[in-house]
């Protein structure tokens, strides 16, 4: 290991204007060549800490203490050096892409630095080759999947040849397969190229095998975490499945019945759904699982009646009292504060103020009531959107990736609320990538493949019979079994 640390912070602290310290004071060291994890709950200040490493991204506020990157004070780096030394990748695949085509996105950083064309072409070629981007090099970014977008961002950042790569929840919005791919690429970057990697995550399970060391950020302090690298072998995760705990309920008449639905977006397009059948029983939680782009979101919209199928029939008895949680919670936000957001439908739905306060408390948003919905973290936004829908007391809840960006305790809250609602008679259909959530919370699971319902079974049977597609024993599963099992 080199004598100079990749990151060395002493007494580092940060506070936003007119607020208490968010982070620190803390000491923090990262060895050169390390794969360093920062674990922390949603809203614990991980992003703030990481952003301190990039002078261009430091939020408005005050920083105390010293912070050095490769032996040089961060403030002393000029814009050019800072951009070329520290690469930064954030959470959203959609928003951090600047250009319209993949090749331009890869070259963007190099263009900014004024790199000569020949060098630039070589570097882009190198990185494109390393990440296997060549087949979609000339595509428009709109055609890429989330995983490909994130990979493009990573490649564009690495084309600038940084020595330190900082990533803030890079896989939070990816499905499990894309997440694995991305992590594998990250692992290669670290081990093959020797680039120091620092990743902030709230769910470290998937990354623990890759990391060389990990720290936990809680209450603004860092604490080292044991159990990285070899301590836990991947086999252990794969072998130990999760036991589904809920028996199926039988109801006479399905609340939602989808028959032979055919759906596509353009005459020349492939079918997204071809002959899809589904029955959702009243008072049950029905999970829809399947790969990226298999038509889960489309199915939810067909059930909601927003999309009209080209062929087939949808009987939705609860169409008059339904709610849809979209993948991006921002779709639902109109007001200036978290509390106002929860009050928005008050007049229409007739719930009282105490219900709003109760929701704030239950979802851990009480401290954020006056914040703008866009200022709270991604996980909190997700919870806010969910709370807002629940206040409207829908009889049919359609959820698109309800656990996206949530940490284990938040998932537990959401899972419990869902069970509670189901017991009260609400029908719930959720599309999810989160297999352990589906296994523990839902009654019935349908797997979508090739536009059809490949199989529909009670959750326990479904996961018992699967060889490849089964849940891992993650933090949420442990927590759920501990508290609800």
């Amino acid at each position: 290991m080199a004598t100079v640390k990749a990151i060395e912070a002493r007494g580092l602290a940060f506070s936003y204007p007119d607020a208490e310290l968010v982070v620190g004071p803390l000491d923090w060291q990262v060895e050169e060549g390390a794969f360093h994890l920062i674990v922390g709950a949603t809203g614990s200040g991980k992003t703030t800490l990481l952003r301190c490493l990039k002078p261009a991204l430091v939020p408005a506020g005050r920083r105390y203490g010293s912070l050095e990157v490769f032996g040089r004070a961060v403030d002393g780096l000029d814009a050019r050096e800072a951009a070329a030394t520290v690469g930064y990748v954030s959470q959203s695949p959609e928003n951090q892409i600047v250009c319209d085509s993949v090749w331009h996105e890869l070259a963007f950083g190099l263009e900014n630095l004024g790199i000569a064309q020949d060098t630039m072409r070589r570097r882009v070629a190198e990185t494109g080759h390393f990440f296997g981007i060549e087949p979609w090099f000339r595509r428009s970014v709109d055609e890429l999947s989330g995983g490909q977008k994130q990979m493009t961002t990573l490649a564009g950042t690495l084309a600038m040849q940084p020595r330190l790569l900082v990533l803030d929840e890079p896989t939070a919005l990816l499905d499990p397969v894309a997440e694995k791919n991305f992590l594998h690429a990250l692992f290669r970057v670290n081990r093959e190229l020797g680039i120091t990697v620092v990743v902030a995550v709230h769910e470290p399970e998937a990354m623990l095998d890759y990391a060389t060391d990990a720290v936990e950020l809680a209450d603004g302090r860092l604490r080292s975490v044991a159990g990285c690298g070899k301590a836990k072998t991947p086999q252990l995760y794969a072998r130990r499945g999760v036991q589904a705990t809920f028996p199926t309920q039988n109801a006479a008449r399905p609340a939602v019945c989808v028959r032979d639905v055919h759906m596509r977006y353009d005459r020349q397009d492939d079918w997204v759904l071809r002959g899809f059948d589904l029955e959702a029983t009243a008072g049950c939680i029905h999970a829809i699982v399947g790969g990226n782009g298999c038509g889960k979101s489309t199915l939810l919209r067909v059930i909601a009646g927003v999309l009209k199928p080209e062929r087939g029939r949808v009987d939705n008895r609860l169409a008059a009292c339904q709610a849809l949680l979209p993948q991006d919670p921002k779709t639902l936000f109109v007001c200036d504060s978290v509390a106002d957001e929860l009050h928005e439908w008050q007049k229409a739905c007739g719930y009282d103020d105490s219900a709003v306060d109760d929701a704030l408390l239950r979802f851990g948003l009480a401290g954020r009531a006056t914040s703008h919905p866009y200022d709270v973290s991604g996980g909190e936004q997700q919870k806010l959107a969910f709370a807002k829908l629940l206040l409207a007391e829908p009889e049919l809840l359609l959820l698109d990736e309800p656990t996206k960006g949530l940490d284990a305790p938040s998932k537990l809250t959401v899972g419990r609320m869902l069970r509670e609602r189901a017991r009260a008679g609400t029908t719930i259909v959720m599309a999810t990538h989160d297999l352990s959530f589906a296994a523990l919370v839902s009654d019935t699971v349908t797997m979508v493949f090739d536009g059809e319902a490949a199989c529909t079974e009670p959750a326990a049977d479904f996961f018992a019979n699967n060889l490849f597609y089964r849940p891992a024993q993650d933090a949420f599963a442990l927590l759920w079994n501990e508290q609800c099992g």
Binding site: A79, Y88, W103, E111, L389
Partner: protein, 314 residues
């Protein structure tokens, strides 16, 4: 090619929340083999010719060429569909011209004291035809000169403008997609509907969608701005460009031959248009061979496409 494209599009479903927009199908064009400068010169020459050579035969050649290449580029269905509004345009301009200019010698009819002449109608028809041709040429040009080619052409002089173009190309479809997404979610949440069903609910619904869209896009633009800064936007003294287009010998040859053809056509056109007149009587139509150079010029992209298609015919 088409199936590959649609497969890619169906991968997109989950990230965009199931809402996908229809993309203009962008297949290869005959000009792709050349430097964008060649396409730009050709398109400019074609436009100038079409607007300057106000002579019926030249206009017909221009229109026939533009329409035929439109079929090649955008498919017969789209090309014919655009005729549906272009033909009425020609008729309207043809009928409107006699109202403004009462010259000519062949009187067709009179309304009150005002005479309507055949020559006037002919001139109007030619004007209409020119307009329709210009529209067709522009829609062809937008396919031939895609955004990355325009950027390669102008990116050197003004890299920021090139980048702005690239960002706009990305943001506009994103905006539209999100708008429809917001609308869909709003319609799907029927449990909260009473709010919208009130008086003035629809208008409020639109306002609501617009405000969500604005807030969302502005918030995202902050994130994009942070990503730009993280990648050193504004850090270097001068931006460079990753150009994919190199000006090769073939391009120079194409420009030289094309230029020669244009010069000959111009000479022929000047002579032909000089001796032609609409008023007072239509006369002075040049002999058939004087249109040959221009016809060849117009047929160039058609010939290139035909050659390419012939090569791939089994």
């Amino acid at each position: 090619m088409r199936t590959a494209a649609s497969k890619v599009r169906s991968d997109e479903t989950d990230q965009t929340g199931g809402m996908r927009q229809r993309r203009v199908d962008a297949g290869p064009t005959a000009f792709d083999a050349f430097h964008p400068m060649v396409s730009l010169c050709y398109v400019t020459a074609a436009l100038v010719f079409c607007m300057a050579a106000m002579q019926p035969v030249y206009l017909l050649i221009s229109f026939a060429g533009a329409f035929a290449y439109g079929i090649v580029l955008r498919g017969p269905r789209t090309a014919v569909r655009s005729l549906a509004w272009q033909l009425p345009l020609v008729v309207v301009v043809a009928l409107a011209n006699p109202l403004f200019s009462a010259s000519g010698s062949t009187e067709l009819f009179r309304i009150g004291s005002r005479a309507f002449y055949l020559e006037s109608f002919a001139f109007g028809s030619c004007m209409g035809l020119m307009l329709a041709t210009v529209f067709t040429l522009f829609s062809n040009a937008s396919r031939v000169l895609s955004s990355d080619k325009i950027m390669a052409l102008f990116g050197g002089f003004a890299p920021t403008i090139g980048l702005m173009l690239s960002m706009t190309m990305r943001l506009v479809p994103q905006f539209v997609r999100r708008g429809s997404d917001i609308d869909a979610v709003q319609r799907a949440c029927t449990a909260a509907r009473p709010a919208c069903a009130e008086k003035g609910g629809t208008r409020r619904g639109y306002l609501r969608s617009a405000s969500v869209l604005m807030g969302w896009s502005m918030e995202d633009s902050l994130e994009t701005a942070a990503a730009m800064k993280a990648k050193g936007w504004g850090a270097g003294s001068r931006r460079t460009t990753y150009r994919r287009f190199r000006f090769r010998r073939l391009d120079a040859l194409a420009l030289a031959w094309g230029g020669a053809l244009v010069l000959v056509s111009v000479a022929a056109a000047v002579a032909a248009c000089g001796q032609f007149r609409f008023y007072p009587i239509i006369e002075g139509v040049a002999p058939w061979w004087s249109y040959l150079p221009y016809a060849a010029f117009v047929a160039l992209p058609l010939a290139m496409s035909a050659k390419e298609r012939a090569r791939w015919r089994p």
